[in-house]
């Protein structure tokens, strides 16, 4: 989760598991509930993000409870460095200045008048997966392993449209994106990303951004590590060099065994996780079942996901349940006929650059056991004869 310490012990512990709701013996014998202003979840389904309850911290998407590819907006993962600001959409503006012809400010209403685009992209914190890399424990669910990852249908304006509006000077090569939160979170981004696919988004899954995702507007850099997708965006400054902010130097850099640390490691490498079955499932019956999960790459399209049931000795092509889009999420599926034997389920994603997810051993050899960020090693689940499912991270 990016390793940041919370400011205080959690003040909002996850709610205790509610008692199992009681349904009528025969619901056909009495009228049901009336229509309502908002459609609540079933009482039988009460997922939570397990927040640490502090302004500096994170809360993770419960991937094991979800299916399909969209993350319900109230379950999108969070990572804040100074809490969620309350911003009035009638007062908030985005200012673009620096190496431009016309420094300009745009209200939220202005931004919504530009030609808009709608795209489905994932956002992943580059710290996602650290738990399974550093200290693989059998009693781990997908939520701590991979839950700093969510997927939404985003709507907004291409950053290129705004950059044309202000007129970018020819020597501009980087821009600084700054949030309107209490730490004024700031990241330097190569200008090529603006001409490629960067967006200023104001909507998520059909509705305005939730405050935890940057209401009223955020930067969206498809395929780039979460922290660079600056939320509550208030300012873009164009310049010739990166600013070397605290987040891109002391935080989101990747130490290597040769005594270097990689800086500006934006792209998310191809990755996958099986979300069903998973710990703490107990497989109670033999026979067919859908082994499925999520795969993504920040560099392009997922072209292939393979599943192994023997811990990586042999691999089978999994079906991709939706058409892979660039820098977006695919649900994959492999039908498995379990007959009560020990098994180790693994998944391995390949993207259209030809990159294949590495084993943990290969990653440790290359990057060291204590490297930070961009953990995308192959992970999976052990199923024992009894049907018990536990995390398997030592690939």
């Amino acid at each position: 989760q990016g390793g940041a310490p919370p400011t205080a012990p959690s003040t909002v512990p996850p709610p205790p598991a509610p008692p199992r709701p009681v349904a009528p013996l025969d619901a056909t014998k009495m009228p049901g509930a009336p229509t309502a202003a908002l459609g609540a979840r079933s009482e039988y389904f009460a997922p939570t993000r397990i927040p640490n309850g502090t302004p500096v911290g994170s809360s993770r998407t419960p991937l094991q409870d979800l299916t399909g590819t969209i993350t319900p907006s109230d379950l999108h993962f969070e990572r804040h460095h100074a809490g969620i600001p309350t911003l009035d959409p009638e007062r908030h503006t985005l200012t673009i200045h620096g190496l431009v012809d016309r420094p300009m400010s745009f209200t939220v209403a202005d931004i919504k008048r530009f030609p808009q685009i709608t795209r489905t992209y994932f956002i992943e914190c580059s710290g996602n997966g650290g738990a399974g890399y550093r200290d693989p424990k059998p009693d781990t669910t997908p939520q701590p392993l991979a839950g700093l990852f969510s997927t939404s249908e985003w709507t907004g304006v291409p950053l290129a449209t705004l950059f044309r509006e202000v007129g970018v000077k020819s020597d501009a090569s980087w821009f600084l994106a700054e949030g309107g939160d209490a730490c004024k979170l700031a990241r330097s981004i190569p200008i090529a990303k603006a001409w490629d696919d960067a967006m200023i988004v104001w909507a998520q899954n059909g509705e305005p951004l939730r405050p935890a995702q940057g209401y009223p507007m955020r930067l969206l850099l498809p395929g780039f590590e979460g922290n660079s997708n600056v939320k509550w965006l208030r300012r873009l400054e164009l310049g010739t060099k990166p600013w070397m902010t605290r987040w891109e130097t002391s935080k989101y850099t990747d130490p290597m065994p040769d005594g270097t640390a990689r800086i500006f490691t934006f792209e998310i490498d191809a990755k996958s996780v099986i979300t069903s079955p998973c710990y703490p499932n107990m497989i109670t019956a033999r026979g067919w079942r859908s082994v499925n999960g999520l795969a993504w790459s920040g560099r392009g399209r997922i072209t292939r996901v393979e599943v192994s049931i023997d811990g990586g000795t042999s691999w089978h092509d999994a079906e991709l349940l939706n058409t892979p889009q660039p820098k977006s999420t695919v649900r994959f599926q492999y039908m498995w006929n379990w007959q009560g034997t020990d098994a180790t389920l693994l998944s391995r994603a390949t993207d259209d650059a030809g990159y294949v997810q590495p084993t943990r051993a290969a990653m440790v050899a290359e990057r060291g056991e204590f490297t930070d960020y961009h953990y995308n090693q192959i992970i999976g689940w052990k199923v024992d004869r009894s049907g018990a499912v536990t995390f398997h991270g030592a690939t």
Binding site: R102, S105, D110, R164, C183, F370
Partner: protein
């Protein structure tokens, strides 16, 4: 062509010119060459006072950190003056002295985000002072230093040469 728009050269003439004063109010970032550093100055000694009053309750009396607040001081795990920079293979804590590549970042971040409960409340003199204190505590500058724009700009951080631009190969299996 701009999606949905009459063409890539189209201006939609939306938004308004930003006033210099509006830009200046936000344009407080300090890049690594330090050209944006403001006027003002602060000594290590005065920084120690500011630190004790406004920072130590979270980061510890000596910058050693507290359970949920980051450690700020320490050249490496063994306390050696020259950092080993073995963060990938050892479970070492990053500090200003052993990890941060630019001193300007410290000024920028403190002015931007600290103290945590009242960010943006410090004078530039106080930011210079506490920056000086933390650099001195990390054995980067002598404890007799007074920092201003020129002095801060001149500092070369111990870890500076360890940072390399992303050199992952998009197609390599491990990287």
């Amino acid at each position: 062509a701009v999606p949905g728009g009459p063409g890539s050269k189209q201006s939609y003439a939306l938004g308004h010119l930003a006033a210099d004063s509006a830009i200046a109010a936000m344009n407080q970032d300090i890049g690594p060459d330090g050209v944006e550093l403001p006027a003002g100055r602060g000594s290590v000694q005065r920084g120690a006072v500011v630190y004790a009053a406004q920072c130590s309750q979270c980061h510890g009396a000596k910058g050693e950190g507290l359970p949920t607040f980051p450690k700020l001081v320490g050249r490496d795990s063994a306390g050696a003056p020259t950092p080993e920079f073995q963060f990938a293979t050892k479970n070492k804590t990053k500090t200003i002295g052993n990890y941060w590549p630019y001193a300007t970042t410290l000024f920028d971040y403190i002015k931007r985000a600290m103290p945590f409960a009242t960010p943006g409340s410090m004078t530039d003199d106080d930011v210079y002072a506490v920056t000086a204190f933390l650099l001195s505590a990390n054995a980067v500058i002598p404890d007799t230093t007074t920092l201003d724009a020129v002095a801060l700009r001149a500092i070369r951080m111990p870890a500076r040469d360890h940072f390399v631009p992303d050199n992952r190969k998009p197609t390599a299996t491990t990287k």
